[in-house]
Subunit: 453 residues, 2 copies
């Protein structure tokens, strides 16, 4: 088995992915609006040789029928959250290997603005930036905040295809590799005939212009995606180099892994051209019993009200207002707008009851498998999970900040290293090189290479 | 005379505001895509107790008729330029007093996205952020890059009024001052009844949502503006707390200063509620003759072709293709889209010749008065300029980076301090407090205060 790819999940807000951990005396997540909170975390992750820090994001907020949900504010769930974009350079300045994967939406900013921002960040980070492409899955509340109409699920992906292509055209097509000269004596900054205008005219987006930033180490940031719907998989097959998958039943995850690799093949790419990373929460301690106590303590900070508030903000559905003993009727919901589809019935399986959805969501959150036990037990579980699913690694979810990470780094990582399942040193200069062991730029088989001059 | 307010002009690109200084052996501006370039500069400005670093920005680029201009690329003029947003946190992390004024446009991103970004930055900088509000003055090339139609000058300002109001409503109206509780023992993050939805419905922008970030030190960043057209002054009178003015003839600047103060009064604000800061390039050395040599060296790096390229990118006018001995016909141009109006005829004055416009632009750039001489001479000129114009200070333009700043800090600043014209220590915790000596929040007389709950 190859070493796992290991990334860290965070967002600019208090708490991890389950419950209201900020209230714990040892938790520092409520410091999320201080720069030093982030630079300290980044240095910790780099010292542990972890591959990247992922900053999730959404403009959505917990509201129902136009009213904020009291429990969300009281518990700090779903609100507050800040903008992840501004914090990257402070973390990049105090690290030299850790990657940063930043989320932006294809429904908010013009594509050329996104292209210039990521190109600038790829320079500032010396090629350590990735772009998590979201298509507006936070749905109705985010659209209302932005003053836009909600766009249907499949149309959002059609638009996102074009949005990504505008970015690729600017990153790959504007400057030849040898355009930048920087000859002080000759007074020649760039070769004019090696920089060119990009013209793109789609149904939803157009551009006539140039990337105003010279080529960055990766040119195109590592392209990352998280949707798991059928249309989302097609999008991933075309664009993504890494996909974040929700955890849960290993058989379901294995099917998703295989399906996404197949979607890459359908686009003329190799099956291992997409790294599959599964959301996972690791709760460990010196002994099994202590780990179980930590797990129980975590659940004691996760309420039905807080979980329901987040669920409502993502879907528009108030689970607390429904009969807990009836199945959730998918057709009556906005579920198609959300990343919570996995809580609904799959083909041929019975629809889950409202009470089970809520309990599942309260105890596992949006993204993760939960592994609980002694360090050896958890390492065993993780190894078995990767063996079963064929995934490439984990997106490590936090409960306590920084406690959950400290436990992973101090207790689990040494065992994974002993087994050859985690690297002991950084390799590769850019995030793309680190993950694939190949070049810094998009591989030629990626359709983005077609935008090169 | 009060101490001057002193800010620094920069953008994420090579060169200062005149010529191609990057080619000089001592110039470091071509390092603009390295974080350390910016953190070193920020620490220098903070050590000198300067008030703020302003990061200009534009999505425009030097093109004519859809083609990039060769001279711009060869000389590094107008292109390249990167995104200023991502660099602020790295500089904020290594400073504790320097302010940062960041440019965003009211025609690019949704207003609620801008509001969240600046609120996050106001936290990260501990209240040291300002927002330079531009309305898309870079015109046709930026619009084409963004895939948008060019909007007429006055309509852009009408839209910008609404855009700023959406931001103000979110910053001032979402959270009461005492909404945030952060009581770990009680498990209470915020008082739900002290956070509220904001509803704004204008002709051009709407929002139904909440600022997802708790109140930052300033809530509303310091509001800054630069347009000097009649409609621009009305906009400044309504919103701006600082206005950047182009330098030049002191009598013209004095009239602009008086007119902008009057525009504040017309909006029910006090005449000194707007700080007027004039673009100025200071070229100095130990002796008068050495300073003249530096000035001549600067002009030797500024070509007609480079100046014309920038002018074309801003206006769509190719000065090199026109008869140099004829006046520029304003009606045939896109000049209304640009900040170069001051090069055109004023009421009752003869229209300038094309050759004079180009020479003026080549030697003084977009923004500045140019003061040349020994340190005492330049200090005298600066003092006289402020006395004549009634402005509050200067926006210091660079020629050489960091040479022009080093000269100002080492040679001119000590003389200004002796005369009581520059502070020796920082005062006030936030950028707004530093500039006005009053509170951290918008004053009650500002219309933005009306958005408070």
């Amino acid at each position: 088995m190859k070493p796992f790819i290991l990334g860290i999940f965070q967002y600019i807000g208090p708490n991890g992915t389950i419950g209201s951990a900020w209230q714990h005396p040892d938790d520092t997540s409520a410091d999320f609006l201080k720069i030093s909170h982030w630079t300290t975390l980044a240095q910790k992750f780099e010292a542990a040789k972890l591959d990247f820090l992922f900053l999730a994001d959404s403009y959505g907020f917990p509201a129902l029928n136009g009213e904020l949900i009291d429990a969300a504010l009281a518990e700090g769930r779903g609100i507050p959250h800040g903008d992840p974009m501004p914090i990257v350079s402070a973390m990049a300045a105090v690290t030299s290997n850790l990657g940063f994967i930043l989320t932006t939406s294809t429904t908010v900013e013009p594509p050329a603005a996104n292209a210039r921002r990521f190109a600038t960040l790829d320079h500032f980070t010396d090629g350590r930036i990735g772009w998590n492409i979201v298509t507006g899955s936070s749905g109705a509340t985010a659209a209302a905040l932005m003053g836009k109409d909600l766009i249907s699920h499949d149309l959002r992906y059609d638009m996102a295809d074009e949005y990504v292509d505008v970015n690729l055209a600017l990153w790959e097509g504007s400057w030849s590799d040898d355009a930048l000269v920087l000859d002080k004596q000759a007074g020649l900054y760039a070769e004019p005939d090696k920089v060119r205008m990009v013209h793109y005219e789609g149904e939803h987006f157009r551009t006539d212009g140039v990337l105003s930033v010279p080529p960055s180490p990766q040119r195109t940031p590592l392209l990352v995606q998280a949707g798991a719907s059928g249309r989302g998989r097609r999008f991933a097959g075309r664009h993504a180099e890494a996909v974040f998958l929700a955890g849960g039943d290993p058989a379901v995850v294995a099917a998703n892994v295989a399906s996404i690799r197949q979607s890459a093949v359908a686009e003329g790419r190799s099956p291992d051209s997409i790294k599959l990373l599964v959301g996972a929460l690791f709760i460990t301690a010196e002994t099994h019993d202590e780990a179980r106590e930590k797990y129980d303590e975590m659940l004691s900070m996760s309420t039905n009200e807080g979980a329901a508030a987040i669920y409502a903000g993502n879907t528009g559905i108030d689970l607390l207002a429904l009969d807990p003993d009836r199945p959730l009727d998918q057709t009556s919901t906005e579920m198609g707008q959300s990343n919570l589809e996995r809580y609904l019935s799959k083909d041929g399986t019975p629809a889950p009851l409202v009470r089970d959805i809520l309990e599942n969501f309260r105890t596992t959150g949006i993204n993760g498998s939960v592994f609980v036990g002694s360090p050896e037990e958890v390492a065993d579980q993780a190894e078995a999970f990767i063996a079963t699913t064929g995934a490439d690694g984990f997106l490590i979810q936090p409960h306590m900040t920084p406690g959950t990470y400290d436990d992973f780094i101090d207790l689990i990582l040494p065992i994974l290293r002993e087994r050859g399942l985690a690297p002991t040193e950084y390799s590769g200069n850019t995030l793309r090189q680190r993950l694939f062991g190949a070049g810094a730029h998009l591989p030629d088989e990626h359709h983005g290479a077609g935008f090169r001059a």
